[in-house]
């Protein structure tokens, strides 16, 4: 069983939901990322989504755009991100790591080389924002052969017909984007999230994570009541932005945000 499937199964057996933090790898500098990852696991993270920085993050709001700029300015490359995962795996063999980003850096490396490297370093899944299932014909088989999960997005605008298509194409979990907009945008509406998640569940047994608009313990708790996982990104990345140059402060603040979410999500 893959690390991701195993993670969701264990959570499910204890009646808990996955807490899935996102940070941009290499932000504010490549040397700090692995430390942040360990800190987040200590604070209760179940799966880590690690952003691969891109020069043109079209689906991201200003917070993650700036994180990409900081990371690239500090010299982060896709190879560097893979090395970070390898280093993380030296002392953590359980927590799934999903790389999230845009297609072009992966295409530049070469899909097969990338897939091989993912397996070598211990990446569990890949989520490519600008790769819908229709365009994934070259990539998906390479990942499938290597038991790498390909995580797809679902949106409020996704028709039920497409929900069925994406549920079939995806593996690991499905990521429901809770609102129309970029990352870090307004607050989500839990009732409409619930309605959509119900529709998604009609078509799949895969766990459903929900992200975009989750800012604090209250929103994390509300979403965890209707989903299998809660993704939090911009709220964490903002803490990194506010404390550049003080990595120990950043670790503490990431833990503070995540611990509060963890407690709220686990309380009944």
């Amino acid at each position: 069983m893959s690390r991701i499937a195993n993670c969701f199964e264990q959570l499910s057996s204890t009646g808990r939901k996955a807490l899935i933090p996102f940070i941009t790898a290499g932000d504010p500098a490549p040397a700090h990322t692995v430390g942040f990852m360990h800190a987040m696991v200590e604070a209760g993270a179940d799966i880590i989504e690690l952003g691969v920085p891109f020069s043109d993050p079209m689906a991201d709001g200003p917070v993650i755009q700036l994180a990409c700029e900081r990371s690239l300015a500090a010299g982060t490359s896709l190879s560097g991100v893979l090395k970070m995962v390898a280093e993380f795996r030296q002392s953590n063999s359980d927590t799934p790591v999903v790389l999230m980003g845009y297609l072009n850096p992966i295409e530049a490396m070469g899909y097969e080389v990338f897939a091989d490297r993912c397996v070598e370093v211990g990446v569990d899944g890949v989520l490519l924002v600008d790769l819908p299932p229709e365009e994934s014909g070259d990539v998906a088989p390479l990942f499938r052969e290597r038991h790498l999960d390909l995580v797809f997005l679902l949106a409020p605008t996704t028709s039920e017909e497409r929900v069925a298509l994406i549920a079939k194409a995806g593996s690991g979990y499905l990521y429901y984007v809770s609102l129309k907009g970029v990352t870090g945008a307004a607050t989500l509406d839990v009732d409409s999230v619930q309605a959509k998640v119900d529709t998604i569940r009609k078509h799949t047994k895969l766990p459903v994570g929900v992200g975009f608009g989750i800012k604090d313990a209250d929103s994390a708790k509300a979403v965890s009541a209707v989903a299998d996982g809660v993704v939090v990104g911009s709220a964490l990345v903002q803490r990194i932005a506010d404390n550049q140059g003080r990595p120990e402060v950043i670790s503490g603040q990431l833990q503070e945000v995540l611990s509060a979410m963890r407690q709220a999500m686990d309380a009944h």
Partner: protein, 403 residues
């Protein structure tokens, strides 16, 4: 039979031109793109839609645009005849309006009430603000902050037309960043907003439908050549940023084997300096802004900042059909430096009394080179895609003159 590929076969049903094109966008936009594709498929051969489009082109844009024999320039250059397809004489001063008229008609059919656009030189922004004013639609135009500065005149025109112009300060502060920001707006406001893309790039069906709307240029030029010169041109020349004016001119001639074609990219300070905007000359295939195409990128797949004196060519990608045409060998892609383009700008202005846009000046510059190498009985048609009034500040500041 010839060895030419079947040019009518692209794009395929999923928007692919060979390995290029496609629909690489976040899930939120997939529904809106399918809707646009369906509406366009239904309307493109609809008699009423065609008639509305043709009516607007004739009575609002002022088409057909003339095909003008630049006799004095031809004499001065001393080679093949140089003819200019006068898209600069269109309403709003460039070819961009052909496309915005078409997309505005589509927008009306979707029932959406707000249009957005990205713009580089501001010509597409002006053309979008113009159709929005005419339809009473709200209009927001995204423009790189550097371009807002170098194209002040067009910024003010857009504002007079009632559009909101949003300067984009992220990244390289030019056209690519304006397109990122327009995509972010669209993903947020997809329910009520129609995105009028200005060039033959972006996710399917944009490269196809923008091409179809711009093909009026080549259809007219073909008929005018036959009527005025009693033959087809021997060569076509057009500048290529995203490439909409070039594809508009080239496409109706693709099956005419005797017609050679030259797409002119911006070489900026020179291809060898790295400071240019010529992905077909010096880039490689990758994925950006919804399509696979030639891009200027680092080995790590990060997009490189471009440079051109012309804001409309200052873009690291190019329409996917051009990428495909390059690989098929049907079109030659060449490049012209800032200095060469500025010289052509001055020469055409002084010799013919026609002030070309800096974008179009690239095409003029290459046509002059080409004409010198061709005999006097040959005929070159240059797409004079826009007029140069908007560039007066740029040219004046290069001459250290305050306007």
């Amino acid at each position: 039979m010839s060895d030419l590929p079947d040019f009518s076969s692209v794009p395929d049903e999923r928007g692919h031109f060979g390995i290029y094109g496609g629909r690489f966008v976040s899930e939120t936009l997939m529904g809106a793109l399918s809707e646009l594709e369906e509406i366009y498929a239904r309307l493109k051969d609809d008699a009423k839609f065609r008639a509305d489009f043709d009516y607007d082109l004739a009575h609002y844009v002022g088409r057909p645009s003339p095909l003008y024999f630049a006799e004095r320039l031809t004499e001065k250059v001393g080679g093949a005849q140089i003819w200019l397809k006068r898209e600069d004489l269109n309403h709003t001063g460039a070819h961009k309006i052909n496309n915005t008229i078409g997309q505005a008609l589509l927008a009306k059919h979707t029932g959406k009430t707000r249009v957005i656009a990205e713009t580089g030189a501001g010509q597409h922004g002006v053309a979008t603000a113009t159709v929005a004013a005419r339809l009473g639609m709200k209009c927001v135009v995204y423009m790189g902050a550097d371009d807002v500065e170098r194209q002040k005149l067009n910024v003010f025109r857009m504002k007079l037309l009632g559009a909101e112009v949003v300067p984009v300060t992220s990244g390289s502060r030019t056209l690519k960043d304006a397109m990122n920001e327009a995509m972010r707006d669209w993903v947020t406001n997809v329910d009520d907003t129609f995105y009028i893309i200005g060039t033959v790039a972006g996710p399917h069906p944009y490269p196809m439908l923008v091409r179809d709307f711009q093909c009026v240029i080549g259809r007219e030029a073909r008929a005018q050549s036959l009527a005025q010169a009693d033959k087809l041109p021997d060569a076509l020349v057009a500048c290529v940023g995203g490439g909409s004016n070039a594809i508009g001119l080239f496409h109706p001639f693709l099956n005419d084997e005797s017609v050679s074609m030259y797409g002119v990219e911006a070489a900026g300070d020179g291809i060898e300096t790295g400071r240019h905007a010529a992905p077909l000359a010096a880039g490689r295939p990758g994925v950006l802004h919804g399509n696979r195409t030639y891009l200027m990128e680092t080995d790590d797949g990060q997009i490189i900042e471009t440079h051109s004196v012309s804001a409309g060519l200052d873009y690291p990608g190019v329409g996917p059909e051009h990428a495909w045409l390059k690989d098929t060998g049907r079109v030659n892609y060449v490049s012209v430096t800032d200095t060469e383009a500025l010289n052509a700008f001055r020469e055409l202005t002084r010799v013919e009394g026609i002030m070309p846009a800096l974008e179009s000046s690239h095409a003029v510059a290459y046509a002059e080179k080409l004409a010198r190498e061709m005999p006097k009985d040959k005929m070159i048609v240059v797409n004079l895609s826009g007029r140069g009034d908007k560039d007066i500040h740029t040219v004046a500041s290069l001459d250290h003159i305050e306007v």
